[in-house]
């Protein structure tokens, strides 16, 4: 079950690398977060009550953050599509290369199934790729969330899971950061008339 959810998450993640529309990318990240939440819930029997709560919060996070991002997109409609400087196929090729190299370099994590570790590392690479290669501010946020999902997958896969304080605290911090980032996105849109991070180019030395 967890393997299926993990690789489903990777597939959703690769989708965020190539899709054009921000709303589609947000739906994909929502699906990915939900898949990882379901994987965590599937692991919950036999583990502590705190782990069960943390798994539940992961599912709630999938809904809440997707809703927040979708609301932001609806409030800040773009007059023209924000085109990335890099062609979608090239983005995909770069991402797959990064995944391959990272998985070759990183040794096995104790107590984590190799398959799950590979999927976690892949998600973090995908997140970095979306974050670096996409220009729309909302898509850069999606990149951060994909990477965070990779981290959540690794955390729940450890025998017993990460300490609940860290899991719940990290989710709280992530929600705080995403909320602040959405406030920034709204303000950037209000000032520049677009959520295109490439327009933020005044600070150069």
């Amino acid at each position: 079950m967890i393997q299926f959810c993990a690789w489903l998450g990777v597939a959703f993640g690769l989708g965020t690398v190539v899709v054009r529309r921000r709303s589609v990318a947000i739906l994909l990240i929502g699906g990915q977060s939900a898949a990882i939440g379901v994987a965590a819930l599937a692991l919950a029997p036999g583990r502590s009550q705190e782990f069960f709560i943390a798994a539940g919060v992961l599912v709630v996070k999938a809904v809440v953050l997707t809703g927040l991002l979708m609301a932001a997109v609806l409030r800040t409609r773009e007059s023209a599509r924000i085109r990335s400087d890099v062609d979608p196929l090239l983005r995909l090729a770069l991402t797959l290369s990064a995944i391959l190299i990272a998985n070759l370099l990183i040794p096995a994590m104790p107590g984590v199934a190799p398959d799950i570790q590979r999927a976690s590392v892949a998600l973090i690479c995908i997140g970095a790729s979306v974050f670096i290669l996409r220009r729309a501010t909302i898509l850069q946020l999606v990149g951060v969330l994909v990477a965070e999902n990779g981290l959540a997958l690794a955390a729940v896969s450890i025998a017993g899971g990460m300490p609940a304080v860290v899991e719940l605290g990290a989710l709280f911090d992530l929600t705080l950061v995403i909320s602040v980032a959405i406030a920034f996105h709204n303000r950037i849109y209000a000032v520049l008339g677009s959520g295109d991070s490439a327009l933020l180019t005044e600070l150069r030395d």
Binding site: M109, F131, V144, I158, G160, G169, A170, D173, V191, E202
Partner: protein, 491 residues
């Protein structure tokens, strides 16, 4: 008996962050006529509590209760966070009085909410007894301080805040992956939060697998580097420090960067038996040299004064990284002195930009010129700040840099010491040249706010006295009992 001792440690340790949180709750809700007065009251109370806790931690050896740890190691940084946070809160009304536009409609309330939340997290970081909790606190600083960076609401401030928010969040994600790696190695059956206590990590380190620990160390230090602002992952630093309100810039540079560095240092000290001392030292030295190499050319370029101070921060976090990487008691004495001296001198420089921007509004974007002619008091503040930062004797930063370089010689890192010495000399010349232009160049505008003049004079006197005291301390610190206790915790 043990329970009561732990309760006292919990109470003392948590006091200053809790008081700062109370400030965050009370000040924004107060009637507008009371906001600034309440802020000044909380600034004094929180800073006093933090300084008291720092002195208790410095004098009392290591003690831990729950998530809180008091020790000389953390006290060095808590002292800075208490002092710089307190002064920044205290001078904030001066900034707010002259800031016309804001990111928020009810500007000062949001400003104080962000400032006190940021300060509370900063005060808690040096007290955190646990790697997981420390990471959470560092991440908490991001949200609050990003809003403060963009407080003016101007386009450049938004750009700086956006970069800061995303780059540091991504860096911290990488650091958390390292923590997951480390936790999987330390507690393969998931033994709970306490396995990430500094003391537990130290105890477990000799038995940890080398390869996994090296990966964890690289991910944690590399991820935290993005928040510390070490080159080459420093891109947010010059932008955020130059666009934030001056009191916030002082906190970012003087308090946040060293606090996050403390956590990187604690990780290195805890797990180096497994990762190999050479690996961790190499990491710090590499970040140190790279930061110096990136910063120094910018210190030669004419640029706006806050941006110059920001690049100077990059240079100084590089020096601190070298001091940690040399891993010698004398270098540690240099690091202690440098953290304190840099915080005082840099914050004075940022506070001085408030009257400078009123004297010479174009200095927000262009190099300042003729400040000493327009206002001798403001010129003195800027002069004391930049000459101290450049390492001109008898600045405490001269002694701290000397100690760090001598520590490097003791560690037989001759090539690194030589390269660092050359870059420090170049940095000194660059900063001194910029200072001469800023103080004695031809002034562009001649308008002076008298109230600002008297405040900056008081700040200059206080910071100057502090810097002289630190220079005197340089004679006593090497070989002191305090340094021995610090070194035991840090290496």
């Amino acid at each position: 008996m043990l329970y009561s001792q732990n309760s006292v440690i919990d109470l003392v340790g948590a006091l200053s962050p809790l008081l700062a949180l109370a400030g965050a709750a009370v000040i924004p809700l107060a009637p507008p006529s009371l906001t600034h007065r309440l802020n000044r009251l909380f600034a004094v109370v929180v800073a006093t509590a933090a300084l008291g806790t720092a002195v208790a931690g410095a004098a009392g050896g290591q003690s831990q209760a729950g998530w809180i740890q008091l020790d000389p190691f953390g006290s060095v940084f808590l002292l800075v966070n208490g002092l710089i946070g307190g002064v920044s809160a205290f001078v904030s009304p001066v900034y707010l009085a002259h800031e016309q536009r804001g990111l928020f409609a009810s500007g000062s309330r949001w400003y104080y909410l962000g400032l006190y939340l940021f300060w509370a997290a900063l005060l808690a970081i040096p007290l955190a007894a646990n790697l997981g909790v420390a990471w959470l606190l560092i991440e908490t600083t991001t949200g609050a301080s990003a809003l403060l960076v963009a407080y003016s609401g101007k386009r450049r401030a938004l750009e700086a805040g956006w970069k800061y928010l995303l780059l540091t969040t991504f860096g911290l994600t990488v650091a958390l992956l390292g923590i997951v790696f480390l936790y999987a190695a330390v507690a393969p059956r998931g033994d709970g939060l306490s396995t990430l206590d500094w003391s537990a990590l130290r105890a477990a380190a000799p038995a940890l697998p080398h390869e996994t620990t090296v990966v964890a160390l690289v991910l944690i230090i590399g991820g935290l580097a993005a928040k510390i602002g070490w080159a080459p992952v420093h891109h947010w630093l010059p932008d955020a420090h130059s666009e934030a309100p001056a009191p916030v810039s002082a906190m970012l540079s003087g308090a946040l960067l060293p606090s996050v560095m403390l956590i990187a240092w604690r990780v290195q000290a805890a797990i180096s038996p497994a990762s190999g001392a050479g690996t961790s030292r190499t990491l710090f030295v590499a970040f140190g040299l790279t930061s110096l190499a990136v910063a120094v050319p910018f210190l030669w370029r004419p640029m706006a004064i806050k941006r110059l101070l920001a690049y100077s921060s990059l240079e100084h976090v590089g020096i601190l990284a070298l001091g940690i990487g040399f891993d010698q008691p004398l270098a540690f004495a240099g690091v202690i002195l440098h953290v304190w001296g840099h915080a005082l001198a840099k914050s004075l420089g940022f506070y001085a930009t408030m009257p400078i921007f009123r004297l010479q509004p174009t200095a927000v974007r262009r190099p300042a010129a003729g400040i000493a002619r327009l206002s001798p008091d403001t010129g003195t503040a800027l002069g004391v700040s930049i000459l101290s930062l450049s390492g001109l004797p008898p600045s405490p930063l001269f002694f701290s840099e000397l100690f760090i370089l001598l520590g490097g010689m003791t560690a037989h890192q001759y090539a690194v010491v030589a390269a660092a010495a050359v870059m420090l000399a170049l940095g000194f010349i660059g900063l001194a040249h910029q200072l001469l232009e800023a103080l004695l160049g031809r002034p562009r505008r001649d308008v002076l706010d008298g109230a600002a003049r008297s405040r900056i004079r008081a700040l200059s006197l206080a910071a100057g006295a502090g810097l002289v005291a630190l220079s005197l301390l340089a004679y006593y610190l090497p070989g002191s009992n305090f340094l021995q206790a610090f070194t035991r915790a840090a290496s």
